[in-house]
Symmetry: none
Subunit: 467 residues, 2 copies
Amino acid sequence: MTERVADYLAGQKDAILDRLLTLIRFPSVSTDPAFESGMRGAREFLLDRLRAIGMQDVRLLEAPGGQPAVYGAWLGAGPDKPTIMIYGHYDVQPADPLELWHSPPFEPAIRDGRIHARGASDVKGSTTIAIETIAGFLAVEGGCPVNVKLFLEGEEEVGSPSLTGIIERNRDLLRADAMLSADGGGAAGPRPVLNIGCRGITALQFRLRTASKDAHSGKVGGAMRNALHEMAKLVASLHDEQGRVAVEGFEAGAAPISNALRAEAASLPLDEAAWYAEFGATPFGDPAYSVRERTTLRPTVEVNGMWGGYTGAGGKTVTPAEAHAKLTMRLVPGQNPAAAQEAVKAHLERMAPRGVTLAFDYTPGGTRAYTLPADHPLRAATAAVLRREKGGEPAVTRLGGTVPITTIFAEELGMDSLMFGLASPDEDAHAPNEFFRLSSLEEGLRLWPLLLTELGGMRAADFRRPA
Amino acid sequence: MTERVADYLAGQKDAILDRLLTLIRFPSVSTDPAFESGMRGAREFLLDRLRAIGMQDVRLLEAPGGQPAVYGAWLGAGPDKPTIMIYGHYDVQPADPLELWHSPPFEPAIRDGRIHARGASDVKGSTTIAIETIAGFLAVEGGCPVNVKLFLEGEEEVGSPSLTGIIERNRDLLRADAMLSADGGGAAGPRPVLNIGCRGITALQFRLRTASKDAHSGKVGGAMRNALHEMAKLVASLHDEQGRVAVEGFEAGAAPISNALRAEAASLPLDEAAWYAEFGATPFGDPAYSVRERTTLRPTVEVNGMWGGYTGAGGKTVTPAEAHAKLTMRLVPGQNPAAAQEAVKAHLERMAPRGVTLAFDYTPGGTRAYTLPADHPLRAATAAVLRREKGGEPAVTRLGGTVPITTIFAEELGMDSLMFGLASPDEDAHAPNEFFRLSSLEEGLRLWPLLLTELGGMRAADFRRPA
C-alpha cells in the first residue's frame, strides 16, 4: 500500500511543488508585526489545504501573546493504532540582510535543482511533505495507517511564546502517543541518520547606558564613558580566547559527556575541514571536543546582534550613551533555562563597572534540551525504515539548534518526539539565499509514507510506557 | 576711535539683528544637496553685504568637490599694518530631528533674549559680528585699523573637502599675518578666556569578517567564530579599564604634558561634578589627569558607531559573519595623524586572531592638533583687550574638538590663528533648538572692534617670525 501512495505522490510532484511555492510566497515572518498579512495568508492557505485533503476538525488554536497554530486531525485508524502528532511550522525567520539575496526572498527561484527562498528549508519544504503524505494516504487509500493530528505552529522562530497557553487550552485535543517533527532531523541524503534530540535555548536582550545623552566626542572624549567601549568589554568577557563560555554558573546541572555520548556523537562522521570550508571559516572552539560535540553536546552563549552610535554613511563624532545587544544561549541536557539565563544576566551585571547601567528585556526561562529515550518505539520504527531504504545501521545524532516543541510537548503532554525533517544542514536556513533541494522534496514524499506505514504496524499500547 | 565704532554698532543694533535673522533664514545645509538654494541664497546675501559695506575684491573662491567660500578684502591700512584673515562659515548642520524643535529651525524665534534657529550659534551669529565690525569701521572711520581679508567658508560642517583646493588656487590672495576665527572660542560671558588651540583628528572605519556568510547559531554555535564576539574583543583591547588608550605607538610624538601646560589647563576651573551631572554620567578617565586635561591635552580613540548581526525587532538566532565599527581619534600636539591612524590600524590587525579578517575604509591622514604659539602677538593683543574689558588675567584654554581650518591655514599658509567666537557651549550647536544669546551679539560688537584696534596698534613686522 505504501508503494501506491509513494507512486501517487511522485505523480503529483508538479502540483505539490506548486503548492509549496505558494506557501513560500507568503512572507510569514513571525517576529515582525509588519508581516502580519503574510502570516495570515500562510494560515489561510494551510486551513484551506487541510480541509481540501479531507482532514477533520481543521481550525486555528491560539492563546494571548502569540501567533495561532493551524490544527487538523484524521482519527479514522481506530483506537488500537497509535495516534501520531505531526509537527511543522509556517513562520519563517526575517530575510535581512536583503541586499545579500541573489533573488527576492519571498519569490522562490528554482536554480540547479534548488528552491531558493526564505522558509524553503526551514521549514515549509518539510511541512509540505508531511501534509502531502497525509493527503496521499487519504486520496489513494481513503485513510492513514495511524491516527494523525497535525499541528503547524506560527511562532517557532520567535520562541513559541503562546505555545504553553495553546496547550493549556487544548490539552485533550492535543493528546497523542508520539510526535513526528517535520522540523529538525537529517532524513535527506544517502546516509541513514536518526535525529534523537536537540539543544535547548534561552534568550536575553539588554541595553547599556553610560550617560543620559550622547555627547560630542571632541568635547568629552577621554573623560566620558563610551557605551560602545563598555559593551565591547562586557561581550568580550563572555568567552575566553578559544570561545569557551566564561560565565560563572552557566553550566550548572549540565550532565558530563559520557563515553557513550562521545561514541554516539562519533557515529555520524564529520569532515571538519570541509565543514569550516563551507562557511568560509577557520577552525574554532574548545579543543577538548570535536566539532560535532561542540555544536550538539556543549552549551553556548551567542551574541546575535549588537549595535550603538552612528551607523549611517560617513562619520559622526559622537560619544554614544547607549548600546544594545541580543543574546541567545544554547543549552544541553541537565541545564535549567531560567538558571542559565540568570547566570548570564548576573555575569553581565557583575562585570559592568559603576557608571554603566544595564536594562534587560527578556522572557524568563526558555526551553530545555530534549532527548528521545533510547528504547522508544519511534526510534525502532524510524531505524527500520532507514535500514531498508538506505542500508546500514543509522547514525545517531542531535540537533545543535532547538525545536522547542519537542521539549514542551514532552513536559506538558508526556509525548516524545523524533525529528524527521528533510532539510540539510548546508541549506542556509536563517541566512540569505536559503534553499531547499527538489531531491529532498522527492525523498521526503517517499520516506514519510514508509514511516507512517511502519508506525501503523505498531499498536497504540506499544507507546504507553509504564508510569 | 574704538568707542565711536562700538557706539555706532550699538546704535545699529536693530538693523544688525535684522541682517543676522535674514542670514539665518537661508537654510544653508551644506551636507544635503536639497538645500542648494539655501546655500546659494546665503552666499548671495553675503556677497551683497560685503560689497555694500565697501569691501573690495568681493567674490566666490571655489575648487572642485566642495562649496564656494565668500571672500572680500579691505587693504587700506597700509603695508606696515598687519593683515588679518577673518574666518567664519555660512553653512550649518542639518536640522534633523525636526520634531524636537519648538519653533521651525529656519524661522528664527526670539524668546527670553535668545535667537532660536539652526546656525544662530554655529556660526552665523559670530560671523555677523565679524562682518558688522568691519562695516562699523568703514562707516564711521572710513577704514579699519588693520588690513582685513574675510574668508567665509561654505563647507565647514562637512569637513572642508575643497578647502586645500581653494588654497592652492588662491595662495597669494589668502596670505595674511594671522587669522582671527569667529568660529570656536569662548569670548562671551563674564570670564576672560583665551582659546589658543584644539585637538586634531583622524578617522578609521573597518569591517570584520569571521566567515563568508552568516550561519544559524544553533547549528554552528560553539564551533564557529562569531563576528560580534571578535569585534567586542578588538574594541575592548583599545582601552584599559580606566579608559586609557592601550594602542602601542598611538601616542608617538605627543609632547609630554609640562607643568606649565597643567597650570594653563587649571587656569579655567571646571566643576567636574557638575560637568558629569550635565551629561547624566559618572566620573571616568585617566586618574592622572583632570577632566580639562583629559578632554583637551590627552589623545583619544573613540568608537562612534559599532554594529553587526540582527538589530531589528524580536530575535534572530544568527552567528554573524560580519561586524562594523567607525572610529575617530583626537590628537594632541606632536602626534602625526597618519602615524596615529596607522598605529590603531596596526593594533587591530595585530589583535585579530587567525580566522578574523579586517577590511579598512579610510582616508589616510587627518588634521594635526593646533596651538597658537605662546609669544604670538594675537595672544598678547587679545589678552590685553580681555583684561581691560572683563578684568583679571585671561584663562587659557583649548578646544577638545577640532577646527581644521586652524591647522590647514597654519600648514598651508604659515598663518597662526586665535578663536574669538561668541558662541557659548550650552547653546546646543548641532542639536535641536540651537540658540544664540542677544547679549553675546552685543558683547561681540564691542569686543571685536576693540581687538581690531589693539591689533592695529601693532606692526606687520611683529607678526613675521624669524625663519
